[in-house]
């Protein structure tokens, strides 16, 4: 049984999806509980896998029993085990959270929604766990197709936004496939670790270099790194609440993980930082992504849209951290993949609750929110503090490592960009909190000292619980930073870093 955990992570939600289709076609009410049960199973398997892995170990699971590179292999080290736990946890929380908003927004498509939801999670988990470059492509497409459908369920402007995403997403996926093809033509293998052992013999091959370019551009489009970010804000803004809660935290983070895999497992740190001289260019992209995301976020009145621009900025954090070429920077990136997943889901759930109660997520919707939705706003504050990077939330520690890495590699522009983005985040969240806290201005209403009563109308408990779990997870993760870093991240850092 123990050795089957890796595959269970993926196939439990997959079977759940099939059962959901059949059961949900006749009785939609059973969908949400089934989805929660399935994702819980997946989450528990992911945790069990994570705990199985010793320092620096790799668990290899042979699908179909064929030895790699001939069969498909699942390779789990503590890097993807961590990402798996994050993904399945976030998915589980959103599945619990989704019940009410889905009933409200997608009343007659509940079974479709949960089927696609669970399949999207399957795709993301499969992308994370697989050790095979082509298997990754297939699951990438599963995740992409489900996310197209889920985003397009938002109707109205969502269709056009999603269409743009379909086009760009397909370009991204095709570039990835083309990159895999070029690697296949030079190495004859699809297994990432196997390619990784062959590539060093091909030093100087232009094909390998161009393949790297295609792979990188492909994942950058998928993760919406500047200048490929154009599709993201619209697509996520017009999506249904539950969809954006799931897609926003996970899609981009998993793409970042894939970038790390390509960089450090398929290719090697030594090749990337010593042979090719791309680092300055990528660092510029990361810095511009951070600055641009932050400033566009500043200009938004719709909070959901504002958060989507913050995602663009956070992508810059992670790409920049990985490309500093330092152990600390890479640690920061890996840590931030998880931290940012949790932060984003927490904030999107908060926004989702506000939309659920007030219909919109404009600044005006937040008026008096502290009186009417105190618990929701509490979660907003914790999520916001983590975005800003206030200790002891985990946002602080990811910044700590990222800045350390940038300092070691003398990327001072990146440090400055990180700090500016923190400040912008601070301003943004101060603005929201101010509106939510102090909008009832005693001097502006006729009787300044009259007790200003606002009806208590917080989100339902089914939405508050996942929201607070994610908020508390932010703090818990911050407090256990040392543990996480020393036990799981440091042992798997590739050689060849500063």
């Amino acid at each position: 049984m123990e050795q089957q955990y890796p595959v269970l992570i993926v196939i439990i939600p997959m079977f759940t999806a099939m059962v959901l289709t059949l059961a949900g076609w006749f009785k939609p009410a059973v969908c949400q509980p089934l989805a929660v049960v399935g994702l819980l199973g997946s989450f528990l398997s992911a945790v069990a896998t994570l705990l199985q892995i010793g320092a620096g170990e790799v668990i290899s699971y042979r699908l179909g029993g064929w030895e790699p590179p001939f069969g498909i292999e699942y390779r789990v080290d503590s890097l993807n085990a961590l990402v798996l736990v994050m993904v399945s946890l976030v998915a589980l929380l959103v599945a619990i959270f989704a019940r009410k908003p889905v009933e409200k927004e997608l009343g007659n498509k509940i079974s479709n929604f949960y089927t696609l939801f669970v399949l999207l999670v399957t795709g993301l988990l499969g992308m994370t766990i697989t050790g095979d470059a082509f298997n990754l492509y297939v699951l990438l497409e599963i995740a992409a197709l489900t996310s197209y459908a889920l985003l397009a369920m938002g109707r109205g402007r969502a269709y056009m936004a999603t269409f743009n995403y379909v086009i760009l997403g397909t370009i991204g996926a095709c570039f990835y496939l083309l990159g895999v093809g070029l690697l296949l033509i030079k190495t004859g293998s699809l297994n990432m670790a196997d390619i990784g052992t062959i590539l060093p013999k091909l030093v100087g091959s232009e094909t390998v270099l161009v393949a790297f370019g295609f792979l990188m551009v492909g994942v950058w489009i998928k993760m919406a790194l500047f200048p490929f970010h154009g599709w993201l804000p619209n697509a996520y803004t017009y999506a249904p609440t539950a969809t954006s809660c799931l897609v926003a935290p996970l899609m981009t983070k998993v793409s970042v993980y894939i970038m790390l895999r390509i960089m450090f497992t398929v290719y090697s740190a030594d090749w990337i930082f010593n042979v090719i001289q791309w680092k300055p260019v990528v660092m510029v992209l990361a810095v511009v992504a951070i600055l641009m995301g932050s400033f566009f976020a500043l200009a938004q009145r719709d909070i959901k849209r504002m958060l989507t621009y913050l995602i663009v900025a956070e992508i810059g954090y992670m790409v920049g951290g990985a490309w500093t070429g330092t152990a600390a920077g890479l640690t920061g990136t890996i840590y931030h993949i998880m931290a940012d997943g949790l932060m984003t889901v927490c904030l999107f759930m908060v926004i989702g609750s506000v939309v659920y109660r007030k219909g919109k997520a404009h600044f005006e919707s937040f008026k008096d929110a502290f009186q009417s939705m105190p618990w929701t706003m509490g979660a907003l504050i914790i999520g916001g503090l983590s975005m800003i990077g206030v200790p002891p939330t985990c946002g602080f520690f990811s910044k700590w490592y990222l800045i350390s890495g940038a300092y070691q590699s003398s990327d001072y522009a990146f440090i400055v960009a990180l700090l500016i983005s923190s400040l912008v985040n601070a301003i943004l969240f101060i603005r929201i909190v101010e509106t939510a806290f102090f909008s009832a201005t005693p001097s502006e209403i006729p009787d300044p000292h009259a007790h200003h009563e606002v009806d208590y109308a917080d989100s339902p408990v089914s939405m508050l619980i996942p929201m607070w779990v994610s908020a508390l997870a932010l703090i818990a993760m911050g407090l256990y930073t040392g543990e996480i870093v020393t036990r799981w991240i440091l042992p798997i850092l590739p050689g060849g870093l500063i």
Binding site: P391, F397, I403, I430, F437, F438, E444, L479, E483
Partner: protein, 489 residues
Amino acid sequence: MSQSIVSFTPLAIVLTSALAVIPISLSGRNPNLRELWTFLAGFLKLMLLFSLLEPVTKGIAVQFELWKVLPGVSLHFSVDAFGLLFAFVACSLWIPTSLYVIGYMRGLKEHAQTRFFACFALALSATAGVAFAGNLLTLYVFYEILSLSTFPLVAHHQDGEARTGGRKYLTYLLATSIGLVLPAMIITYQMTGTLEFSSMGIYGDTVKPGTLLVLLLLFLYGFAKSGLMPLHSWLPGAMVAPTPVSALLHAVAVVKVGVFCNLRVITGIFGIEILSKTYLDTVICVIAGVTVIVSSLIALSQDNLKRRLAFSTVGQLSYIILGAGLAQSYAVKGAMLHISMHAFGKITLFMCAGAIFVASGKKYISQMVGLGHKMPFTFGAFLIGSLSVIGLPPAGGFISKWLLLKGTIAAEHWPMMVVLLGSSLLNAAYFFPIVYQAFFGKGILPENENVKEAPLACTLPLCLTAVISIVLFVYPEPFLTLATLAVGE
């Protein structure tokens, strides 16, 4: 520190007021019960502090490790004489201020009192946390908590002005702490591998003076709560807060935390010796000296009483930093002592300003002509507070300023002596006219004819702190002992 013991007491002190937030928020519907909790927590905290006095005066550091967050860095408390001194100042002033808050808030029938008391208690916890912080990270954590917990207090009035002030307040403090302190801290950690305070400094001899200068500036300006120019303008802006907030937070907790952090960094991270070896002490002195003089000049021109007090605070804070920058044991002792002396003096002044506002509704100095006869206790206390801040006997401020002066002489830092003396004159120039006009000025405003003293809950605390200011002149031993210990003599 040669010896140390492990004890829960520092944590308990920090937690007393933090935990008090829960009963305070729960008993929002019963104001008397709510305030009982505040006082209980206040006294409990003070008693716990006294229990720390004994080991600390024997030169034993009280340690408590809270949590290991990063490899090599943990959140931990370490109580030494300086920290204890600061904690004493903050906690002992909490009780009279609470009393005063009750009188003030109920007198003006302010809204959202429960939120106010809850945040107040939280701010006190953060202050204690800063005082006991054993390393830079812990210091930073509690510094941030303090910024955030005081934001609702500053923006308490919820009108346009309060929101602007609050936004400015938080933006300045967060921007500097994230933008300057955080990178400085990370760079320090990268260079030295530690963030623990050490009286020798942690940089060693290998770091270049240029780097040290940059780090020093990052730290000095990063802790913007200390109001060094040009990053001082949040402080007058934050005066939109209700007066008790200005009193406790902007005379004691918040600004003193900033100064305390600066002192900690100067003595614990850089180390006095390295600073004087690299002549960086002069940099500190110049920055602080300029701030002292300029802010005193600005204060002269302010008509709003609270703003004048605010600029006075900016100047006085820089005395403390200047004292540390002199890198001389008398001066450092004077600086530490000035934290407490100025705290008692300034809180008296702020409470007086609040009491005047409660009684007469007046904010501007020009409208207070002749009020002295109507409110003799308030203005009497104001006089004593002024004396203390200026540094004249018979108030406690004299002792600290005297020590500072002695420090300049011992260090043969003549320009700084001129700065100290000159600014004391300026202090006198902006305080005495207020008192003079109140008692001897002609032409009392017609609407002031019927003004009486503020309610007892307002007047009593300010008289109390005024008396303490005088007592501290006669009997400064408690704080002096701690300061002497902290300097290490």
